[in-house]
């Protein structure tokens, strides 16, 4: 087990604004190489959480740690280690794309080749080279987004905090973005991205956190291989099913007389599972993924919040 501190850690961080708790005490750890997808309905507290992580806002309580150091005590750490893309990618409109990147580099203390090399690479990677001399005021939404992303990546930060990075990007640019972020994660960066697109989370993230009404309701690794199933059988058929599935399953958990949770071997699938149960003369009444798909988890949390609010 590594003794290295997490890249980014929130310890019971909360944020109050105008007497209202916009983020309830939240604890999150993000290790090197992890990509965390932050989900939530509008107003759930995603942007506030990202701003706290980036050091733009200070927590009302709790602390944010960057590589083990308290961000409020050493805010200059953010300069070197955090890349932040705020919502809507704010840019200085008077500057050209190249000047924008140069300004960001200079603010982060980059000079000479340390600035020009990553700048030119990012201009090419994000397909911004043809726009290098264009004023930022004249850019489209997707172009602004890519410039903002280049600014966030310019100094090769350890922690990348991206608020809806895919906004306005076409499918090719979206794929480029994913490739770039996967590369950064492989190089050891921890990435947090907020999005409304569940497909973006499943395509890119290793973990998912769901905020609702300022509260962290879900924080778990994202299972991409759906090898666990919940089987509904006829009355008192759970025990016989265990024997029938012993060769097929890595683990079998009997919930009650009718329900069995099955973790399949890698070479097995749902079809084989169903065929085996039917072949053993068991009444198969239902079969569903044991880990609910992300969309269902999200919808359940959103609905539970609505009920609670009602």
């Amino acid at each position: 087990m590594s003794s290295l501190p997490p890249r980014l850690a929130l310890h019971a961080v909360s944020r109050r604004r105008a007497g209202r708790m916009v983020l309830k005490p939240t604890t999150l750890h993000l290790a090197a190489g992890e990509v965390l997808g932050l989900l939530g309905v509008n107003g759930a507290g995603k942007t506030t959480t990202l701003m706290l992580m980036a050091g733009v806002l200070a927590p009302s309580n709790g602390r944010v740690e960057l590589n083990g150091a308290d961000l409020s005590e050493v805010p200059q750490c953010a300069r070197r280690h955090i890349g932040y893309l705020p919502e809507h990618a704010p840019l200085w409109p008077e500057l050209t794309v190249r000047e924008q990147l140069d300004a960001h580099g200079a603010l982060r203390g980059l000079r000479g080749a340390a600035l020009s090399a990553p700048r030119d690479t990012l201009l090419l990677r994000l397909d911004l080279a043809p726009l290098a001399r264009r004023l930022c005021a004249q850019l489209s939404l997707g172009q602004r987004q890519r410039v903002g992303l280049a600014c966030a990546l310019l100094h090769q930060p350890d922690v990348l905090i991206l608020d809806e990075p895919g906004t306005g990007l076409d499918p090719v640019q979206t794929e480029n973005l994913r490739t770039l972020l996967r590369e950064r994660a492989a190089a050891g960066a921890a990435i947090v991205l907020s999005t409304h697109l569940l497909a973006e989370v499943t395509a890119l993230c290793t973990r998912v956190a769901i905020l609702h009404q300022g509260e962290l309701r879900h924080d778990a690794p994202l299972h991409t291989g759906a090898a666990a199933w919940r089987v509904t059988l006829g009355v008192n058929q759970a025990e016989p099913a265990r024997a029938a599935l012993s060769a097929l399953a890595a683990a079998i958990e009997i919930e009650d007389a009718q329900h069995v949770r099955v973790q399949l071997h890698r070479d097995a699938d749902a079809t084989l599972l169903a065929r085996t149960l039917v072949g053993a003369n068991l009444a198969l009444l239902g079969l569903e993924p044991a880990t609910p798909p992300l969309a269902r988890v999200f919808m359940d949390i959103a609905a539970s919040g609505s009920e609670r609010a009602a």
């Binding site: 200070a58 932040y84 008077e94 200079a106 603010l107």
Partner: protein
């Protein structure tokens, strides 16, 4: 280092915006026209001035009044320039970019302030150039002109500091400009009461801007006047730095 980076960025942005150039052009055109009128009046009055034992010269009749006129224009010009400094950044969301880089509030405030001050002083240099262009054809009182220029330079620095402080409290640049203008006029109007001691005590007279500008325009450089502007600048910039330092808490 971060201060220099902010200063360079702000100066670059200032030079790329059209409206500071338009303001500068309008100010120079207006003052240039007024200088022509003043020179005409000065030439017409030559006969009468020659009869006076200690007659006012070109500096008193043309150069210093021109600078005094610039001081009055600055009451409106400086709030218009400074309103964007922090309020505009906050509204555009770019202040978050600066804060996310862990830049100290002091560096952000000073960087922006110094960049705008350089621009204002460059404009002042052009204004001073107007009477200087006529120097070969007339007799200039260099000491008086230098003192008056110092007075206007300090006035610009003070007004700008007040403008930046006002800009640090809002996300609406027009509101920042209105607030700065109101404060500036309050400081300026103080002189009227300062001149009427029966209405106001010496304190009100002392805090009014013209009380300390007028001696400089007359060629008298006093330490209390320099101290006044130093205190005004330091106080206003401290307020702006304090407010920006709390940006992370207040959001």
């Amino acid at each position: 280092m971060s201060l220099l980076a902010v200063l360079r960025l702000e100066l670059r942005r200032l030079l790329l915006r059209p409206w500071p150039w338009l303001l500068a052009a309008a100010v120079l055109a207006w003052l240039g026209w007024n200088e022509l009128l003043a020179v005409g009046a000065f030439l017409k009055a030559q006969d009468r001035l020659a009869l006076l034992p200690a007659a006012p010269g070109f500096t008193d009749i043309v150069a210093v009044p021109l600078l005094a006129q610039f001081a009055e224009i600055a009451l409106l010009l400086v709030p218009l320039l400074s309103m964007q400094s922090l309020a505009g950044e906050r509204r555009a969301g770019t202040l978050a970019l600066l804060l996310a880089q862990g830049l100290p509030a002091r560096s952000i405030v000073l960087g922006k302030y110094l960049a705008q001050l350089l621009w204002l002083w460059a404009l002042l240099a052009l204004v001073v150039l107007l009477p200087l262009l006529l120097a070969p054809a007339t007799h200039l009182d260099w000491g008086k002109l230098a003192a008056a220029t110092l007075g206007i330079a300090l006035l610009l620095a003070g007004l700008l500091a007040v403008g930046v402080a006002c800009s640090s409290y809002t996300r609406q640049p027009p509101l920042a400009a209105a607030l700065a203008l109101a404060l500036t006029l309050a400081l300026w109007a103080g002189v009227a009461q300062g001149r009427a001691p029966q209405l106001a005590g010496p304190v009100l007279g002392w805090i009014s801007l013209p009380t300390h500008l007028q001696p400089l325009l007359r060629g008298w450089v006093g330490t209390d006047d320099l101290a006044y502007f130093g205190i005004l600048i330091a106080l206003a910039l401290s307020i702006a730095t304090h407010r920006l330092g709390r940006e992370r808490e207040l959001g």
